[in-house]
Symmetry: C2
Subunit: 242 residues, 2 copies
């Protein structure tokens, strides 16, 4: 039986304030929880799961503290409209200030949690180890971001850059995706450098754009006004890195 305090504590993790205070976040569903258990078992603080999930995961690492709940209990804890078997409470991962010796993605004010998480996952596909974000971006530990990363959250280091202090220091090429740059397909591949992706309705802000050494644009043949930020990031990374 779950105590009222336990339910309240876990529900509070939908708010950044409490995630920061408790240094915890949550992930839901057998797929992502299963992957995180393999990748970062030592970070899993506690698991709340239905009997069926526990039975089909009998070889769980000993580190995990598993609590069986019924479907009513799971619904109380869940952030999802359709709770899905298991919820893990996980210790936040260390956020390291990266060096730019490999390719780094820089996100300016990507507020939509689904887009943000999808970008983390896309970066992971292309082997990018570091994402640097302006403070106006979504919180990487918000439940919707975590779900959209599909466990890539455990493989990609996300660092929040206050007052562009990190960006200012860099000496590698800095590309910004804008609507009026050089056509992407004319740009040669690159192994080190920074790619800036901006908010899709406002683009890259001036205060960030001033650090760009080049602007690039995905050529348009049709009529859509813009591309989704995660789609744009994927297209540019695929061209530059592969």
């Amino acid at each position: 039986m779950l105590s009222k305090k336990e339910i309240k504590d876990i529900q509070s993790l939908s708010h950044k304030k409490f995630r920061d205070e408790l240094k915890l976040f949550i992930a839901e569903g057998p797929k992502i929880v299963g992957e995180l258990l393999e990748l970062i078992p030592q970070k899993i603080e506690r698991i709340y799961a239905l009997k069926e999930w526990i039975e089909s995961n009998s070889s769980l690492p000993e580190v995990a503290n598993v609590v069986e709940v019924d479907s009513i209990g799971l619904r109380r804890l869940s952030q999802l409209q359709t709770p899905n078997q298991v919820i893990a409470v996980i210790k936040k991962l260390p956020s390291k200030k990266p060096d730019a010796s490999s390719f780094t993605l820089y996100l300016d004010t990507i507020q939509d949690p689904g887009n943000f998480g999808t970008i983390v996952r896309t970066a992971d596909w292309f082997g990018i180890k570091n994402i640097v974000c302006t403070p106006g971006c979504a919180d990487v530990y918000s439940p919707k971001v975590v779900q959209s990363t599909m466990a890539s959250i455990a493989r990609v280091n996300v660092y929040y850059d206050e007052n562009e202090e990190w960006l200012k220091e860099q000496t590698v090429p800095v590309l910004a995706a804008t609507l009026h740059g050089r056509p992407l397909h004319d740009r040669s591949k690159m192994k080190e450098g920074i790619l800036i992706i901006g908010n899709e309705s406002k683009g890259v802000r001036k205060e960030i754009l001033q650090y760009a050494t080049e602007q690039i644009t995905i050529p348009k043949r049709g009529e859509a006004e813009s591309l989704n930020a995660a789609v744009a990031a994927g297209i540019i990374l695929s061209h530059l890195m592969m």
Copy 2:
């Protein structure tokens, strides 16, 4: 003052059954409604808007039947958590069976409405005029799809293919995006043909894959298990078409 019946009728448009019956759908917010008013004024059946929206859109086409509502009225009609000034009720657009003389996108069981709408928008960016879908895909007129297309819904023809009858008839090259195909970057550009994108957790189903003449894969350098379907579509279209 809105009548109860009017409120109920508009709310019912969140369900496919009623959209099909009434041949209507809704779009919300100044940006998408503004664009649709320019693109398909004759299809706008009615607009419900706050006074401020009406005042800043005083040169509305005469076709539009505009009803002023207050913020409580707007909230009653809206599908959004944060209603945004204006809701348009729009006649469904004709769905034409396309020929494959230009590039066509074929979607297999893309159920997530945000992904589906983002793919329609991405196709529009690359100048694709036709998307053919299996019946297991999201309904293009569901409110979340409409919002994610960002008005591209008015420029891209979406056709639902029952029992693969359309796909069976085609004689152009048919590429399927899978995890074990030929590397995308080895494939030359193409002007006509079909690209099949499958459900992201299950991929392209066997019954659809049998019609593919080639399989292609976006090379992976990192660890993510898969890419988001809209991101994958964008990367492949950018490579094949530009």
